[in-house]
Symmetry: C2
Subunit: 329 residues, 2 copies
């Protein structure tokens, strides 16, 4: 099953997998008999929290930068991000021997700024109340000839993220359902292309935070919907609108877009800590929460099914993590 | 290299590995470039926190119960424990279709009592201020004809624990140093036998809590030393004295017994949460702390070496875990 009108194909994901071979971690798939008992299903957790820099984002960032022309390599890459995409571009650039600039708000957490610098990036801070990020970025990109890599709406990024889904299916075989944590839709679109190619009968779902359901609204209405910046602990999924490329893939391949609320995310984080001995970030629990606790609308039925779950990342400040475990939201 | 005077041999560990095949998880070996950079060494973490019931103890418990005679199976197993050994025996008995009784102090954490019952054991509570545990256990064992399985000083238990070391070496190949979390010495003795057989040049160390260095004192003095119940957050290593069997193996095969203090354990737990996205219990960080932060005496030098580290378990109450991450000790 291949759709030539879509921005990425299964061949793009295979090519990305070859580029990432020996560079990205082939992350493990964990299972838990307790989780299975609670869900009444067979759950397979693809653990991208164990990916390099702590999230799946490394796959897409590296896949994009590895395809730069010699001229692009010379000038380097630029990204706007205070999250996992920043570290993904910084680390990928370092590994490929090129420069990177990450533009971050100057009130971003000190730990994230430091971590991005430790990966070798030049961090340029801006004041989000007085400066226009887009204009600043364009100015730097133009002055230095750098290539801007967006966090999700980019074919090479999407294809790279899809390798997580590819690896999961290579390891566990057939799945009835695949659940994917969804922000801008980069991971979801890449994994959907891999899954629908290898397992055409598999139902693929994106899972968003309830408060930030821009993709669900868009998917169901058939047009790109823009929302206000959502208030949710899932900081990696605070997108306001799908990208046009990620939307095109998801509209064509997903069964539906589901949501879970912040309480379900905290309970899922606690379950992972207590039973699976894993630290996950709030966004990283979206898909697992839908499988184990159900989605907000009660639409998903996993009973008796083989269910693949992408756990997207584990980058969370330890003090904040401790607070969430102890006090909830 | 095989020493016929020792209570277990490499053949016992191979046989245990065959028994555990398809029953125990073959736990992953994780690496971290950040950890390597900090230690100036190449570190390989064998993640027994991802083992069934959350700790290596399942290996030894199952290996012991799987060797019961038909008569023993009929009557079942009994253990004294409020920790990981309790859950190991309970789960192993359940999988082998036999009954188990776990004798626990009645002021043990409610969560541990519940977890042990969930694994199918009959939990018998006693008052540690008025009742003699040994007498109670003997009475139950005699009345019901049950076989008592001690937590570490038992050849089948020791051989089972050794499979963790065997798997690590099978996966990563040669090691210059192997560091093992040490309580009663079951894990350490089993892994030492595996390591010294496969890699005679490898220096093998047990790592104890500084406050509970009964094994270090015994190892260095050449006789079994008994200490008061140690005050340490490493609740899995609060043994007062080595067992005679574990001591015999460790005395013959270890390079030395090292110690780390509770502050190093908390810092190691934080590093695992922040960088490796793993929950480990305090005891589970003993070996990793020695590698990354150094031992209390400054004797260990890992620079430039290939270092195997057994991460022994991840069973820690989430609220207490959150408190340790936030406030330390």
């Amino acid at each position: 099953m291949s759709n030539p009108s879509l921005p990425i194909s299964f061949a793009d994901i295979s090519a990305a997998a070859a580029r990432l071979q020996g560079v990205a971690h082939r992350t493990p798939v964990h299972t838990s008999s307790t989780a299975n008992a609670r869900a009444g299903a067979e759950l397979f957790f693809k653990c991208e929290n164990f990916q390099r820099m702590g999230a799946f984002k490394f796959r897409g960032g590296y896949n994009a930068l590895a395809q730069f022309s010699p001229e692009q390599r010379k000038a380097g890459a630029i990204a706007f991000s205070s999250g996992n995409h920043a570290q993904a571009i910084a680390l990928s650039a370092k590994l490929l021997g090129m420069q990177s600039v990450i533009v971050m708000p100057k009130d971003a957490p000190e730990a994230k700024i430091r971590a991005t610098r430790e990966y070798g990036a030049e961090v340029i801070l801006f004041d989000r109340y007085t400066q226009d990020r887009e204009a600043l970025g364009k100015q730097i990109a133009t002055e230095r000839g750098m290539t801007l890599i967006p966090p999700y709406n980019h074919a090479h990024v999407m294809a790279g993220q899809g390798t997580a889904g590819l690896e999961l299916i290579e390891e566990v075989g057939t799945l009835d359902i695949l659940l994917i944590c969804m922000g801008g839709g980069g991971l979801t679109s890449g994994c959907a292309v891999a899954a629908k190619h290898l397992l055409p009968q598999c139902d693929v779902y994106g899972v968003e935070p309830l408060a930030g359901n821009d993709f669900q609204q868009s998917f169901r209405s058939g047009q790109l919907v823009k929302i206000d910046v959502p208030r949710t602990i899932a900081d990696g999924a605070q997108t306001q609108s799908p990208g046009n490329l990620t939307y095109a893939v998801c509209k064509a391949l997903l069964k539906d877009v589901l949501t879970v609320d912040d309480h379900a995310l905290v309970n899922t984080m606690r379950f992972f800590a207590e039973r699976m001995k894993m630290v996950i970030e709030p966004t990283g629990g979206l898909a697992a929460a839908a499988a184990m606790l159900g989605d907000s609308e009660g639409k998903l039925d996993v009973k008796g099914k083989r269910v693949g779950i992408i756990v997207s990342g584990g980058n969370v400040d330890p003090a904040y993590y401790a607070q969430l475990l102890r006090d909830g939201v």
